[in-house]
């Protein structure tokens, strides 16, 4: 087996050194009647064989880059420079562990420090951590953190929150016996969330751009939340929007969580992604996850370490702020490198291209007979009301080789009022031809 260095002679010599007669002697603690002798699974396979097996499975799927592609709803197809993937595959990044020994992991630690700074600047917050699993788990952790900060137990969730995120928060909260008040789906951005905030409220969770694409003015919500001593948790699932949209921090958010996949990371059928988590400095000791901090070494040179680990499970055990251990280090690196390549000039231009493409597409699609654009404002994604069931329309488009968005019913099944709604995203990947093909195909499908 190509990954195992020992020859049989090596094994025999080692057993002799250990002083046992056979390898089985080393497994003698496993009760004999429970020892397994062979699994009902195939035998070892060479690299060529494995590549062919997996290549056949991969070939059954339709890659985003190969078709006109308008699918979003929390994960976005963007172009990632080749430099990013090259660098994250460097052995020294890819095959290193969590930087517990800072003297020989300054590479990891410094990029985490850069990542934290970039995330803090993007979100308009004072501190950010070294990443979470993804946006949805970051949101659930933010709610738990808000509970710790406010010593209250009720979260109010906007109806514009991504339905999966809502489900993750609800699951965690139910298990922890915390309360959740989730507002109904809000495709028109019409909800009156201010009215739901009261003295019991620990936090209000609002996504902007919302699941339906609307840009939400967070300032009044923050103001109301702060009046009653609650926190505003802002959720961003398309981080590119922050290039063009006012930061949640500037609008008064107390915690900002988000999905960082759009920058540096592949779609990869939903994971691995990278959760962003930023907050006000005063709450830092209630934050979950790893934090990287600056310090000096024995010779006074600047260096970086994991810090404030007394919040964490490996020290604090059942009193920890979270149980998180492994996070998304390498995805955070991809984010940081891509963001470094973009810089402010590149990010804002990328955002403008996304917005321009989405505006052009929304205008074209909105003119089709029977189709209504629900958004006044949006960034690179918007909601259409179709004359037909959106799920069927999407399948019909797929049959024409166009991946034309996400039917809301995929995430909100069983709600008839939402059945005809289609979420459509457009990024820098879409060409004029893609757009024209989509408009023509949708017209045909609806005819």
């Amino acid at each position: 087996m190509r990954y195992l260095p020992h020859s049989e002679a090596d094994r025999a010599a080692m057993l002799a050194t250990i002083g046992v007669g056979s390898i089985d002697d080393l497994f003698s603690d496993i009760p004999a009647n429970l020892r397994v002798h062979g699994l009902d699974l195939p035998h070892a396979a060479g690299e060529l064989s494995v590549e062919r097996t997996l290549g056949r499975l991969a070939a059954k799927n339709v890659p985003a880059s190969t078709v006109p592609f308008f699918v979003g709803a929390g994960a976005y197809k963007h172009h990632v420079p080749a430099t990013v993937d090259h660098l994250i595959q460097r052995s020294e990044f890819l095959t290193s562990y969590t930087p517990y020994q800072p003297e020989i992991t300054q590479g990891t630690l410094q990029y985490l420090f850069e990542f934290q700074t970039q995330v803090a600047h993007l979100t308009g917050m004072e501190v950010a951590n070294a990443s979470m699993y993804d946006g949805s788990t970051a949101t659930a952790e933010a709610v738990l953190m808000a509970h710790r900060v406010t010593r209250r137990k009720k979260a109010v969730l906007s109806g514009g929150l991504h339905p999966h995120y809502r489900a993750v928060v609800e699951t965690t909260s139910a298990m922890a016996s915390d309360l959740v008040e989730a507002l109904p789906a809000d495709p028109d951005a019409a909800e009156d969330i201010l009215a739901r905030i009261d003295a019991e409220t620990s936090c209000v969770v609002v996504q902007s751009p919302s699941f339906y694409g609307h840009l939400i003015d967070l300032a009044p919500i923050a103001a109301r939340a702060h009046e009653v001593g609650a926190l505003l948790i802002a959720v961003v699932t398309e981080v590119v929007s922050l290039g063009l949209v006012e930061s949640p921090g500037a609008q008064g958010a107390d915690i900002v969580v988000g999905e960082g996949q759009s920058i540096g990371n592949a779609l990869s059928f939903g994971g691995p992604y990278v959760g962003l988590f930023a907050a006000r400095a005063k709450h830092v000791r209630q934050m979950p996850g790893r934090l990287c901090g600056e310090t000096v070494d024995a010779e006074g040179r600047r260096g970086f370490v994991l810090t404030l680990s007394t919040r964490e499970q490996h020290i604090r055990r059942d009193k920890a702020t979270s149980n998180i251990c492994t996070n998304s280090g390498l995805c955070a690196l991809a984010f940081t490198i891509h963001m470094t390549l973009l810089g402010e000039a590149g990010l804002t231009r990328l955002a403008r291209i996304n917005h321009a493409n989405a505006v052009k597409l929304a205008e074209s699609l909105g003119e089709l007979p029977g189709v209504t654009l629900l958004n006044d404002s949006f960034f690179n994604e918007f909601t259409l009301r179709l004359p037909d069931d959106a799920a069927s329309v999407v399948e019909a488009l797929a049959a024409k080789g166009i991946l034309g968005g996400v039917p809301v019913s995929r995430l909100e099944p069983g709600n008839a009022a939402l059945a005809n709604l289609l979420l459509v995203a457009s990024t820098e990947m879409n060409t004029d031809e893609d757009r024209a093909a989509f408009v023509a195909a949708l017209k045909e499908v609806l005819a």
């Binding site: 062979g38 939903g270 149980n323 000039a345």
Partner: protein, 493 residues
């Protein structure tokens, strides 16, 4: 060579990505257009390349040397797995594109599930948890849901002293009270101690097996029986599953739920702290409670069940752990690893991992001390600091001195039940020659310590990108992001 922070060398008007400005259009941002600058410096591509290459050169990695971190399983990461994970049909598909366009992805998830179930002898699997601790949470949530489904309100979870910190943290996160089970002198769990703690309030025990002392829990079957008899569940922390793949099935040991760290046992790269993946396998008793989404094998093939509307009778998912479907990128790598090894290779890998740990034990037993005597271990060998008594060298000093010899230190001060613990996991990836050199180096260090060469240890590491770092200072006044040396307004003058 020092490397500046990107914020010190980047410029706001420099970009390493060429994009054409869009033609004029009427924005639809309402009143929420950004008005303030973000403060994100950019680098051209050559600058960025060099910056991150140079940072990488300050890292130790499994590709550059032995990485004997006990319990972390730093083994070879095949590049085949990186290659296949990047196939367009896996890396470039969206979690919400029509299921008709991702049937190969669902098949791959089903294949992963099939292997995990066969290897563990369990009944069902939840693939979506994003890492080991997340898998623990998933397993404990299933237990909580199962107890609730029985109309009971058990709130105690038993956790051995030697457990990973994630175990108590996970239990506490969802409202369980943690009661610690004391260890026997050799670090294993005494069934009698468990039985003494059992009551109708006990929901579960969380046990790591092989445990964090590198020992297989001999009495696991007896413990499982007692737990089940008391109406509780047996959660197994699967961090050390790599020692027993193909040697024992946890289902047959009485386990009800176990997470599997794909990044440990199946070698998806650790990436400097993630991403991982922590699928959870369930026994018959818990299978119905697996969270959404899951893959069901229907008559005409695997189906991805995403929501309640698609459930069949008897399926009672406790909810949802994550947006979308889990760590597909890691699934592909793990399946590639499994197919490459096959049943025979996986068993051989477990055997070689245990062989290597015992070979290190045999090579060091006469000069280092073991907390419970010299006995056979599984995939990792535990030493303590008695052998340093009187030398003036601490466990930490000893570990840092390894850096100067070109090695990453072992896990230190864990498990907590052992004073000055040093936990060494060589993994099956190391050749005999590599282990011989490692053993010789440690023997040399022990001799130096006993010879009174204390300075060498206290001053270590001397040959690393940094000397020891001041962690206290970092925590006292945390500097968690770069701050401009002086206000912009002054700098601009």
């Amino acid at each position: 060579i020092e490397e500046a922070l990107l914020f010190e060398v980047g410029r706001h008007d420099v970009t390493g990505v060429d994009l054409d400005e869009p033609v004029a259009f009427a924005p639809r941002l309402g009143k929420l257009a950004r008005t303030s600058a973000i403060d994100l410096p950019g680098l051209s591509e050559p600058e960025a390349m060099r910056h991150y290459v140079r940072l990488s050169q300050k890292n130790y990695a499994i590709d550059s040397g032995l990485y004997p971190l006990g319990s972390c399983t730093m083994k070879h990461n095949p590049r085949l797995n990186e290659k296949v994970a990047r196939l367009g049909g896996f890396g470039d598909i969206h979690p919400l594109q029509p299921l008709s366009t991702v049937s190969g992805a669902v098949e791959l998830m089903a294949e992963l599930g099939r292997w995990l179930i066969e290897m563990t002898g369990m009944t069902s699997v939840a693939l979506s948890p994003k890492a080991g601790a997340h898998g623990e949470l998933c397993g404990m949530m299933a237990i909580k849901a199962a107890i609730a489904a029985r109309g009971e309100a058990r709130d105690i979870v038993l956790v051995p002293e030697s457990a990973h910190g994630t175990n108590p943290a996970t239990a506490a996160l969802i409202g369980f009270k943690v009661v610690t089970v004391p260890a026997r002198p050799d670090g294993t769990v005494d069934p009698a101690a468990v039985k003494a703690l059992l009551s109708p309030q006990v929901a579960a025990i969380m046990l790591t097996n092989p445990n964090t002392c590198g020992l297989f829990e001999r009495d696991v079957v007896e413990i499982a029986a007692a737990i089940h008899a008391a109406g509780a569940y047996f959660y197994c922390d699967g961090a050390n599953f790599n020692a027993i793949v193909g040697k024992a099935k946890v289902g047959e040991l009485g386990v009800d739920a176990m997470h599997i760290n794909l990044h440990k046992t199946f070698s998806t790269p650790h990436g400097g702290g993630g991403p991982g993946a922590g699928p959870v396998v369930f026994s018959e008793r818990l299978a119905a409670f697996a969270p959404l989404p899951f893959v069901r094998i229907d008559a005409d093939g695997p189906v991805l069940v995403e929501d309640e509307a698609a459930l069949k009778s008897g399926e009672q998912p406790f909810g949802r752990m994550v947006a979308f479907h889990g760590q597909m990128g890691m699934f592909v790598r793990a399946v590639s690893y499994m197919l490459s090894h096959g049943a025979d290779g996986l068993q051989q890998a477990s055997e070689d991992a245990v062989l290597n740990a015992n070979y290190v034990r045999a090579g060091l037993r006469d000069v280092m001390s073991q907390p419970s005597g010299d006995r056979t271990c599984m995939h990792e060998v535990l030493f303590d600091d008695h052998f340093l008594d009187g030398t003036g060298v601490t466990t930490l000093d000893f570990a840092k001195a390894m850096i100067d010899e070109g090695y990453h230190p072992m896990t230190m001060y864990f498990p907590l039940v052992v004073h000055g613990a040093m936990l060494i996991e060589p993994t099956e990836s190391e050749s005999k020659a590599s282990l011989d050199l490692f053993i010789a180096t440690l023997r040399h260090l022990v001799m130096r310590a006993k010879a009174g060469d204390v300075e060498r240890f206290r001053e270590a590491p001397r040959f690393a990108p940094r000397r020891r770092l001041d962690e206290t200072r970092a925590a006292r006044a945390p500097k968690l992001k770069w701050e401009r040396p002086q206000p912009l307004s002054e700098a601009a003058e």
